[in-house]
């Protein structure tokens, strides 16, 4: 094609993956051919095929063609929708995904599953062609009437800029050749003198005679669908032995289609003939048009080539689809901001004290605008959690086949919005939790029936907002967690002392210990992917936490609590010496003035503070960060007690300042990772403040303690 296609490649990939998702969801919901979803599945497959053809993804085109043929038969009601076919189609969706990746990386995909599925598809298609033929005659009149050969005269006069929009008449003719025999006459009367030729313009028009075709007018129109607005198209019927105008409602829906191979696939005989047609050398007229087309656009073709190489070198940049309403709102807000700004600057031109009131109200308005603007900008990054949830129906479908259990998936709150970054990172941990629920949680059908439950197990995913965070629940109505088994395993592993009394929550927390599994046998479901300890680590790295609730015989619930966004954080500003630090509010348990009588020095000058029943180690920030602090005596210091992973620590600070929302900026962009610091932010006065990384600080303090302890041990050796 003449224009630079590489720039559209990311869009194509994105849309294809979306299409695959639509196919997957549709297939899982597919019940009958009357169902609308078969049409959307077909459309998705068709768009992928069309796009793949355009981008030269030949493996994808070939494979998707088979899928499409099968889908087409289902769509027309010529084939019953069988469970086995849906299974094959689901597998093909996986294959298409693999093939798109392979074609994108310009390699030949040699995965066996593809040839397997391809075999299955062909088999399934063969078995259909015999028994669907009679049905064909009865059911769809349109195809019957279309079997009679007829001839069409097509006047195709494209507008001069047709080739600039990426369309190539040659492709259209090739698609027409699939419908029947072509005779093409090229009209070159509009062609200007050579010196006047604008290389990007198209001066030609064509008269096409389509003979021995069984296509309807709609079929022909569909070929030209993409160029409809850019050409004058007249289609006349020459031999009038069949009614041509059969309304086909799909034609309206198939907006994204490029070339419809429908007839090719439904009519095996015509397919053969058209293949022969293609194999034969094209008629002289076609060849002339071909060269004409080529010569009209050499310049743009070169440009396209030049552009293609740097575009490929660019790494994939993540993109977000944003609803128009969100963008409109932003534009509105920016408009308001501009108005406020001009009002304020006008006010500043000749300012006197009488205008103070106006100024304050103007500043209030500015504050309001800025806040709203910030909120709506943040909303752009927010996506409904259905993006993370929509892979689960398929997962459950596969798992229930693999495990032989009947599992139903219930999804609630899929419109709950979540930051894109958080969403991307929460996917894998959620998959793991759902797998676990299906594999370990839900009992087998026999056990369920024996326990007086329904045969079908239920796994429910639920998402909702609580304050500034989002909670995602993975529930199952299975057997629950066996408390004793977990405890015994922990004792056996030496994680827990025998005879220690633990609360339920503490016992369930043991599940997240590394290498901890109570499953009596390792299946290929639970053996894969990340372990529960990694799940917990991932969630914690996002600033979230996970809780387990379980009731024997009734099921378990894994509750994941996540911050809504990673870009903004509620923080407590504290001062140490001359520096201001920010402590994430979510980690703070309480802030207090230390009382001398509650301070204990134990086991070699370790400072503990008695906070009700707990002994909290005190961590002076100035020591950890080598600063000069105002207050170095613990006796009258301010303590901010923070908690991470069950470990409470008292941070010693000089002063407590304001609480505010801060925008997180990375230190690594221009510098590097700093121990104990998770990032930086810019305060109201324009200065930079560091955001404390509580887990990192705890690790740092532990390391320092270890070094000190080692030193003591070494001293002891010397003494001996």
């Amino acid at each position: 094609m003449s224009i630079d296609l590489a720039q559209f490649l990311p869009t194509f990939l994105e849309e294809s993956y979306e299409g695959l998702e639509i196919m997957e969801t549709g297939l899982l919901n597919l019940q009958s051919s009357e169902d609308d979803s078969i049409h959307s599945i077909f459309r998705a497959a068709h768009s992928i095929k069309g796009g793949a053809g355009t981008f030269g993804f030949n493996q994808v085109t070939e494979f998707t063609h088979l899928v499409e043929t099968l889908l087409d038969e289902m769509r027309d009601g010529r084939r019953e929708i069988l469970k086995s076919d849906i299974e094959i189609l689901l597998q093909s969706v996986d294959c298409i995904r693999l093939l798109i990746d392979a074609d994108h990386n310009k390699v030949v995909c040699e995965d066996e599953s593809i040839s397997n599925v391809e075999g299955l598809l062909n088999e399934s298609l063969k078995s259909s062609s015999t028994d669907t033929q009679p049905q064909n005659d009865n059911k769809s009149e349109k195809t019957q009437s279309a079997t009679d050969a007829q001839s069409w005269l097509i006047d195709f006069t494209p507008q001069p800029h047709l080739v600039q929009t990426g369309n190539d008449p040659l492709f259209l003719f090739n698609a027409l050749a699939d419908l029947g025999e072509l005779e093409i006459v090229c009209n070159t009367s509009e062609l200007p003198a050579f010196s006047d030729v604008e290389p990007k313009e198209l001066y030609l028009s064509w008269q096409i005679k389509l003979t021995s075709s069984d296509a309807t007018e709609d079929d022909i129109r569909e070929v030209f669908e993409w160029v409809e607005d850019e050409c004058t198209l007249e289609i006349t019927l020459l031999t009038n032995d069949a009614t041509p105008n059969v309304q086909e409602d799909e034609a309206v829906n198939n907006e994204t289609q490029e070339q419809d191979p429908e007839v090719q696939s439904t009519q095996p005989e015509s397919e053969q003939s058209s293949k022969q047609e293609l194999a034969e050398p094209l008629s002289p007229n076609t060849i002339t048009t071909d060269t004409n087309v080529l010569t009209t656009k050499p310049q743009s073709a070169i440009v396209g080539k030049d552009k293609a190489s740097p575009a490929k070198a660019k790494p994939d940049v993540g993109s977000i689809r944003v609803g128009v309403d969100k963008v409109d709102m932003l534009i509105n807000l920016v408009g308001e901001l501009v108005i406020t700004q001009s009002m304020l600057s006008e006010l500043g031109n000749d300012f006197d004290l009488s205008k103070v009131e106006k100024l304050t109200s103007g500043l209030d308005q500015l504050l309001q605008n800025t806040k709203e603007l910030q909120e709506s900008v943040m909303r752009i990054r927010m996506l409904p959690i259905s993006f993370a949830f929509n892979r689960f129906p398929r997962l459950i479908h596969d798992l229930s086949i693999k495990t032989g259990k009947q599992i139903e998936l219930v999804i609630k709150g899929e419109q709950t919005e979540l930051d894109k970054t958080v969403m991307e990172q929460i996917g894998d941990p959620l998959v793991h939790l759902v797998r676990n629920a299906a594999d370990h949680g839900i009992e087998s059908t026999e056990v369920r029936l024996a326990n007086g439950k329904s045969a079908k197990g239920t796994i429910s995913l639920n998402a909702y907002h609580v304050g500034g965070s989002i909670v995602i629940e993975v529930n199952d109505d299975g057997g629950g967690i066996n408390r004793e088994a977990v405890l015994n395993k922990a004792i056996e592993k030496g994680i827990v002392e025998p005879n220690s009394s633990l609360t339920d929550a503490q016992v369930f927390d043991l599940l997240f210990e590394p290498g901890f599994s109570t499953a009596s046998e390792v299946t290929d479901i639970s053996g894969r992917g990340v372990g529960m300890d990694v799940v917990k680590k991932n969630i914690q790295s996002l600033g979230g936490r996970i809780q387990v609730e379980s009731e024997p015989g009734k099921g378990s619930c894994f509750k994941v609590n996540l911050p809504l966004t990673l870009a903004i954080l509620d923080g407590q500003l504290v001062r140490v010496g001359t520096e201001v630090y920010i402590i994430p509010l979510i980690t703070i348990v309480e802030s207090l003035q230390a009382k001398a009588e509650l301070i204990n020095r134990v086991s070699g000058n370790m400072v503990l503070y008695r906070l009700r029943e707990d002994n909290v180690p005190v961590l002076p920030i100035y020591q950890l960060f080598n600063l000069e602090a105002q207050c170095t005596e613990i006796e009258n210091a301010l303590l901010v007690v923070v908690e991470f992973d069950g470990q409470k620590v008292g941070l010693m600070v000089d002063d407590l300042l304001a609480q505010q929302q801060v925008v997180i900026k990375s230190l690594q962009d221009n510098y590097q990772q700093v121990d104990g610091i998770s990032g930086a932010t810019i305060l109201g006065d324009g200065s930079v403040a560091m955001i404390l990384d509580i887990p990192g600080m705890i690790t740092m303090a532990l390391k320092q303690a270890q070094v000190a302890q080692k030193a003591t041990v070494n001293n002891n050796v010397e003494v001996v």
């Binding site: 950890l624 960060f625 080598n626 221009n670 510098y671 121990d675 104990g676 200065s687 930079v688 560091m690």
Partner: protein
Amino acid sequence: MDIQSLAKDIPSQGEQSLEGIEFINNAEQYLTFVLGNEQFAIDILCVEEIRNWERPTQIPNSPNYVKGVINMRGIIVPIIDLRMKFGIGQCTYTVTTVVVVLTIEVEHKSKVIGFVVDAVSDVLNAEADDIKKAPAFGGSIPPEFITGLVNQDTNVVTLLTPEALYKIEKHQIDGCNQ
């Protein structure tokens, strides 16, 4: 459009030259600055901005020549005292003390780093032929940071390699942690 392609359109010496822009010619341009008593220079195209010294926010447990970070229009920029790093001159902060903020391209990523110098002085034109190799008689600056030496009147100016400036920061900090 970058400055250099614009500069090409301006008539150079020999053609009709315009007043005030006679400094534009085919030679590379360097920003010269002072550390202690010595003149240094850096490729002018790397220079993002020249700022007055302001006290930055400290980075905990960083080496002494990393003075901290500042906010430059929403970007967090680390500030490194070149005098301390190279062991040249006194580390006092006066009214002429400035921060030269450089954009350094490293592996297709650009890093923005500010360097504290005693003063900026001039723009130096130097063609490739003017740049001489620095003799290996061991100043306090390791050779990989020095592109070469340029004679300017009676002075000798040391040309620094921006890419290396990024690297020493990394390298020395790593060394400090050990």
